[in-house]
């Protein structure tokens, strides 16, 4: 080992990703095993995307799991793993109580009743708010890190993981990687590995979201695990020039999305019932159709908000406050007094590892928590991420630890490990194309609204041709000047793989459902497409896609209402 790696670290459970789900997995794993190691590409204990969040937490506490699940089946247009979601909903309250035990405070009214705000016009899916408002992410991160410290969880930051290691039986027993600031090489061995790297995505400019580039799914895929939900992504409406958090809260007090003609297009053209008070994916689809009709730019008009409400809604904490104040000071731009130009922006990719109900992938010993596991069809509710990081992180960590106890030894082939490391380091110091260009290319492939929002065979095939060109141009000529660049290159490779699977899966799903809209197949097709698409790496290295039917015969709820029916986009009128 000495000659191949600078360091060899052993653990009972190796957790890749130190965000909220990774921290929860570690806290849970420590119930069963001693030696739990978290590695993360960011700074140690930064807490991943969760730290940037407001601290909204979906929790079933004043309704029933059945009712909430019924809402989810409706919201996901039937494409939903009811058994998995039922567990999440059932355990959401325990994790909420756990957060409280760790010192996180949630908002309650004078009588002590939790403040719970329904999301996306769903009656039973409600989020709790961390108090004081806006401090949630950092306070939750601090609580989780304190607990991880108390339990002696080891953490290593700035670590780029390149490949998973499998043993003779094809079971996950570790990983190889390098320290992204120094290039020091590492072999990790562990009889159970948890992926907790968050979702994939194409580096939108949005706080920490740009760090979520899907390496976990990519590593699992390369190791032989299947990915699902690749045809879906989460698209948010954002200002063109700057970042803004919390537009959802402004809509009920009068703010409006309008087109170039000043029309509230969601209400007027696409959804008389919900208007813009829905998931951002649908609003963004509306924006895309407005662009198609030549009625852009799209503006977010805050002028109808009363002065009193503006005072209440002005950001008062953290980055949001600096952002707001500086827009006024440097650019003379008062968010609450102007119509700002907005646009859709891809926030994250729904694609992730497919697992069984124990969150174990097809590679034994490899587990996937939260957004690193494919779960939803491109629709989101406020508070869902913090709920699922906690619940699925906790379940996954416990399962991985028990698996580690059973397996005991983690033995990998050292030659193959050294070869994996050498492959990963090969671009270092070589002449060729930089990570920056690869990242930019993947963005240019998926960002156009005709690829991500209004899909058609024509637009997707064009995108696929571009993916193929990028693979040909970049893969033989990857280069990195420093270990820092090499880590960014790993992100770029993951983004390119996700772009390919997004396009291929989107081409295959010849229907429209939830976050997936096919202009040439604008109707829902339950006969053929109450099914997930899984993608595996074939023996030739190319993606192999196949359908996995939703096992409705096992499920209690047979889909009978569909959230997508609240909308009428061009081409879909005839179906309703």
């Amino acid at each position: 080992m000495r000659q191949s790696f600078n360091h060899h670290l052993k653990a009972d459970v190796l957790i890749i990703g130190g965000g909220f789900s990774g921290l929860w997995a570690a806290i849970s794993a420590r119930r069963f095993v001693e030696n739990v190691l978290i590695v993360d590409k960011g700074p140690k204990d930064w807490g991943g995307l969760g730290t940037s969040s407001g601290g909204d937490f979906q929790c079933v506490q004043d309704t029933t799991v059945d009712a909430a699940l019924d809402d989810l089946v409706y919201y996901h247009d039937g494409l939903c793993d009811q058994e998995l979601l039922e567990t999440i909903l059932t355990q959401s309250f325990e994790r909420f109580q756990h957060y409280e035990r760790l010192g996180v405070t949630f908002s309650r009214d004078e009588k002590g009743k939790l403040k719970a705000i329904p999301q996306r016009n769903l009656t039973h899916m409600k989020m709790l708010l961390v108090r004081p408002y806006g401090t949630g992410g950092p306070s939750m991160r601090d609580a989780l890190v304190r607990e991880a410290n108390r339990l002696g969880v080891r953490r290593l930051g700035r670590m780029c993981v390149n490949e998973l290691l499998l043993d003779e039986k094809g079971e996950a027993v570790g990983a190889v990687g390098f320290h992204a600031q120094s290039g020091e090489t590492f072999a990790f061995s562990a009889p159970a590995v948890v992926m907790a790297t968050g979702a994939g995505g194409w580096k939108p400019s949005y706080i920490f979201m740009s760090n979520s580039t899907g390496e976990g799914a990519y590593l699992g895929y390369k190791a032989g695990a299947a990915l699902s939900h690749n045809e879906f992504m989460h698209i948010w409406n954002v200002p063109v020039l700057f970042a803004w958090e919390g537009q959802t809260g402004l809509l009920p007090v009068g703010a409006r999305f309008v087109n170039a003609e000043g029309v509230d297009f969601m209400k007027e053209y696409y959804s008389p019932t919900l208007g813009a008070n829905t998931d951002t994916t649908y609003n963004c689809r509306g924006m895309a159709f407005e662009a198609r009709a030549g009625r852009t730019p799209i503006y977010f008009d805050t002028s109808p908000i009363s002065a009193e409400n503006v005072e209440l809604l002005k950001p008062v904490h953290g980055w949001a406050k600096i952002n707001y104040d500086r827009l006024i000071a440097d650019e003379g731009l008062d968010f609450f007094k102007e119509k700002s130009m907005w646009m859709p922006q891809i926030m994250w990719h729904s694609g992730g590892l497919a697992t069984n109900h124990d969150y174990e992938t097809a590679v034994p010993g490899l587990f996937a928590a939260c957004r690193c596991r494919g779960l939803d069809p491109g629709v989101y509710m406020g508070g869902w991420a913090l709920c699922t990081t906690a619940v699925t992180g906790y379940i996954t960590g416990g399962n991985a630890a028990r698996r580690a106890q059973e397996k005991g030894l983690a033995l990998f082939n050292r030659t193959r490990a050294a070869e994996a490391m050498a492959r990963a380091l090969a671009p270092l110091g070589r002449e060729g194309l930089p990570a920056k260009d690869l990242v930019r290319e993947t963005q240019e492939i998926v960002y156009p609204y005709e690829v991500c929002l209004i899909k058609s065979e024509r637009s997707l095939k064009k995108a696929l041709a571009r993916v193929e060109r990028a693979k040909e141009a970049f893969l033989p000529r990857l280069s990195a000047k420093t270990p820092h660049d090499l880590a960014k290159l790993q992100e770029g490779l993951s983004m390119l793989q996700a772009a390919e699977l997004f396009v291929r899966s989107s081409l295959l799903r010849t229907e429209t459902r939830a976050g997936h809209h096919r202009e040439d197949y604008p109707q829902r097709d339950n006969d053929n497409w109450l099914a997930w698409i899984h993608a595996e790496r074939g023996p030739d290295g190319e993606a192999r896609l196949y359908k996995v039917p939703v096992p409705l015969e096992r499920y209690r709820i047979k889909p009978y209402r569909y959230y997508m029916d609240n909308f009428t986009f061009p081409g879909s009128e005839t179906a309703r």
Binding site: Y206, I298, I346
Partner: protein
């Protein structure tokens, strides 16, 4: 995007470097003003520089910075009382950085490496008499300059006063390391007037310069007269008389270092003395001026970081074992790299998250709210507000 880092306000604490999720920042540690730790160190080690390298896990480069001033970190990290730590600015926040622990990590790294012999590029040899800290340091620095060096030790094993239980394992490893560098050890050979061999005898064997470093008892009354009076003057305290700046004795080719010439007894002071003697020997052999361009440390940083820094517990080594890599990085990141200056090393990777600005206790960083100009979902010919 990140717009400005006010270099006047920046005091080097590294909060931006430590907080950035995109790894945009690095610190420029090569500054005119020295950090308090370096100023306090008898060896003047650039702790700020190697600590920032360690913060990044760049252990080999960090070792090179440390070795430049101190060839024996494995020994000093076990013996030095830590002059640096007593002046560490972190002490005002919680507790000083465990500099000794970081040094220990690097010391073990150095000893575990397999050094190649230093090429001998100069004609003629130098004799170092004695093998304590000053002697070994002198031998090591002369070896780096390309001189053939022989260390003469009267005892059976090299090390002199370093032969203590604390260094039972480290000292033999360090000696083996020096032998690999090409330093010759002649043990059981007493050098001096009336002993096995005299200085003049060695001169005839082509030794061109001599450094006397056989040490002295701390208690004056126990000192015997050093056996070198044929070449040097001996004081009433039984010490070799030298020019304190150049360590020259009465005889031009004979120098003295360490406690034998009255240097303070700490291992760091003695290594510094050996280094000074090596510098003088080189000047003598080259016929240079003995005084010109001796290294001088710049003024000490006055405005040290500390205000607004969150406390973080100091990590201690577990017994004799050096830090694990992750603990080493953690402890190095407690260092406030006093007086360094932050810069955007990878500015392309900034994603306007404001975390650096929020982390900066000096208010030195300004992020502009406008985002990166990425590809758009919908292209607007003109982007802005109305």
């Amino acid at each position: 995007m990140l717009r400005t880092i006010d270099q006047e306000k920046c005091n080097g604490c590294g909060s931006c470097f430590k907080a950035c999720g995109f790894d945009v920042f690095r610190l420029a540690t090569d500054q005119h003003e020295a950090p308090p730790c370096q100023a306090a160190c008898p060896l003047g080690i650039d702790i700020r520089a190697y600590s920032h390298l360690l913060q990044q896990g760049r252990t080999r480069e960090a070792a090179q910075v440390l070795l430049a001033e101190n060839p024996f970190p494995a020994l000093t990290s076990r013996l030095c009382p830590g002059f640096c730590q007593k002046k560490c600015a972190r002490g005002a926040v919680d507790t000083s950085v465990n500099i000794s622990g970081l040094e220990h990590y690097l010391g073990e790294l150095v000893l575990a490496s397999d050094p190649r012999p230093t090429p001998v590029t100069r004609f003629g040899a130098v004799a170092v008499i004695g093998s304590g800290p000053a002697a070994l340091a002198c031998a090591c620095f002369l070896n780096r300059k390309g001189h053939a060096v022989t260390v003469f030790e009267a005892g059976a094993k090299p090390g002199g006063e370093l032969c203590t239980p604390k260094l039972a394992a480290a000292l033999p490893a360090q000696i083996a390391y020096l032998e690999k560098l090409g330093i010759t050890f002649a043990c059981g050979v007493a050098v001096g007037d009336g002993l096995a061999i005299g200085i003049e005898d060695l001169r005839e064997q082509h030794f061109k310069a001599f450094v006397l470093a056989t040490g002295a008892e701390k208690d004056k009354t126990l000192r015997a007269e050093p056996p070198f009076s044929s070449a040097v003057d001996i004081s009433d305290d039984m010490l070799v008389v030298v020019n304190p700046q150049t360590l020259e004795t009465r005889t031009r080719w004979v120098f003295a270092a360490g406690t034998l010439r009255g240097c303070p007894a700490s291992v760091a002071h003695q290594i510094a003395d050996g280094r000074r003697a090596a510098d003088s020997v080189a000047r003598y052999l080259n016929g240079w001026d003995m005084i010109e361009s001796r290294p001088v440390l710049g003024p000490v940083v006055v405005d040290v970081p500390g205000k607004g820094i969150e406390p973080a517990p100091r990590l201690e080594r577990a017994g004799e074992a050096p830090f694990a890599f992750e603990d080493m990085i953690l402890e190095a990141n407690r260092c406030l790299t006093c007086g360094a200056k932050a810069y955007a090393a990878f500015k392309d990777d900034c994603m306007t998250c404001y975390f650096c600005e929020m982390a900066c206790p000096q208010g030195a960083i300004a992020v502009h709210p406008f985002k990166e100009n990425l590809p758009r979902t919908i292209s607007y010919a003109v982007e802005g507000v109305k």
